[in-house]
Amino acid sequence: MIYISKSININDRIAIGGLDCIMDKLKSRKYPDVDYYIYTLDDSFCVVGVISFNGSNCIIDLHNTNVKASIFFNWLRESLSKYDDFYCVPNNEGKFVWQALGLKQKSLYLKFSTKKIFRRKLKARYLKFLFLNMFFEVCTEKTILKLKKNIYYKGELPVRVELDTF
């Protein structure tokens, strides 16, 4: 589902590259159950995508093009206010946004697991990691395989850390 705020007619209002420009930022729109929240005003827009995995809400996309900081943070807070809890594993720049919003953080690790082989369909991203990621799960329990990224979460850590990129 895509929720658009501010624009009355999205094609008329977006000056930078039109709707395609925004759609390019919806990296995970191939997943049918992602909720996207979009704010547009004249030549600016911002986007956040939320997907529910096993009852936990994961932020999978966040982007801001020229939206004023005050509008962006208030819009983001309001968009996410309908979720009691959520988590994300942001990139290097994105993490500052979540830190500013006061989310808790924890290190991430990889642990060996064969569960993926049995419970999931074959996915293109397995090829990207030469199928090695089929044998590992992302977790917050300490192992010798520490990832460079952290998980940021509002309330409780998710039971399972599901990432659309791993």
Partner: protein, 58 residues
């Protein structure tokens, strides 16, 4: 404070509208560290101009 702002942004700004959302976070983090305060992002984005941000850290 102007010097610290320049250090964080690596450029001069004359109006708060020139500061992006991620830069606003950098300012908050750096100023909180330097002035040993815990000003939140929503306090900073409420500021109408740069002087109001400086006032928060007085």
């Amino acid at each position: 404070m102007e010097e610290l702002l320049f250090k964080v942004l690596k450029r001069e700004v004359s109006a708060i509208g020139e500061i992006s959302s991620i830069e606003m976070v950098f300012i908050m983090t750096e100023f909180n560290d330097v002035y040993n305060k815990e000003i939140g992002i929503f306090d900073i984005i409420d500021c109408k101009d740069l002087s109001e941000i400086y006032d928060l850290y007085q």
